[in-house]
Symmetry: C2
Subunit: 180 residues, 2 copies
Amino acid sequence: MSERQAELLEAAYRYVLQHGLADLSLRPLAAAIGSSPRVLLFLFGSKDDLVRALLARAREDELALLGDVGAAPIGLARAVERVWAWLAAEEHRPLLRVWVEAYARSLVEPDGAWAGFARATVSDWLGVLAACQPAGERDTEQGVARRTLALAVLRGALLDLLATGDEKRIAAAIAEQRMH
Amino acid sequence: MSERQAELLEAAYRYVLQHGLADLSLRPLAAAIGSSPRVLLFLFGSKDDLVRALLARAREDELALLGDVGAAPIGLARAVERVWAWLAAEEHRPLLRVWVEAYARSLVEPDGAWAGFARATVSDWLGVLAACQPAGERDTEQGVARRTLALAVLRGALLDLLATGDEKRIAAAIAEQRMH
DNA sequence: CATCGACTGAAACAGTCGTTTCAGTAGAAG
DNA sequence: CTTCTACTGAAACGACTGTTTCAGTCGATG
């Protein structure tokens, strides 16, 4: 990946965070980031490949969060707290909107550039949550159920937050959850 | 709304359940349901209006579920069980995929045909869950937090289910949830 | 200087989009 | 029979899509 390519990818990524992925179009995108459709196709191959690159770029941001949570067995309760703090941060909202968009799209249209995005992200997150569980619980059936529940709470809370912005009510709901 | 219009709306709705809303296009839709773009526009006004009508139609199916849950104060735990049984049913999956699609779209593009869909659906569901809570709990701050949590669990579980289809694991997670 | 590869601008290509124009047909009402 | 309303088919409109063709420019390497 050339330097110019990395530069344009970063610019395109910023553009997508603001405008969404759903009706991304090469000409407006190129105009906004000071390039041309010709160049984008030359560097990325096709629009689908560009979208794939953008999704991979978004995933980097996501993985950075997962890195912050850490692999220490701090327990699900604290893991949920930490992830929620990250999700609720105002500056992450554009990324999270794009995330939901890509997730939904990959459910409806399982081929093409979005293939497997939803499934991959579920398993990413379950993996991180598993690493937070005490070793004795991790491999039990109940352990799997408990981290599945933790993930559901976080994802559901995120959907609510993106729709209503009502951070206080949702934070109270998460606090209500007892990850005994 | 004329008879022919209702008929075509129903056919278009079935088409959308199979093909999604994201790249709905008049010509293929019309061809599939035995009509023409000309007629669809004549009857519905514009494509945006047609999409609005389709979203309203999907909402009818959703409201039918909410009706089944009932307005009796059966407690959140049993309400969650009942709603989950409906969400997990195989035959509802196309509807739920379209639902996620519309939800995501209305987050990214808050104007146009999708406007307010996400927000409206959150408040719909919170209303129903509220009606399931005992009267004494309903209006407390904790009552709000607890139904927000119940909604998050259901929505998060739904996302997981649509991505992985792993009904057993997710059902176990919901069972793990103690709606004390 | 010549040559090569990386990169780019302008324009065209074939296709699809939502929508409109025009010209009807069918059935009921006067 | 005429007139009105509801509805429909065929074709065109202008705008936009991803992609390709052709013709370059520029900097480094031989």
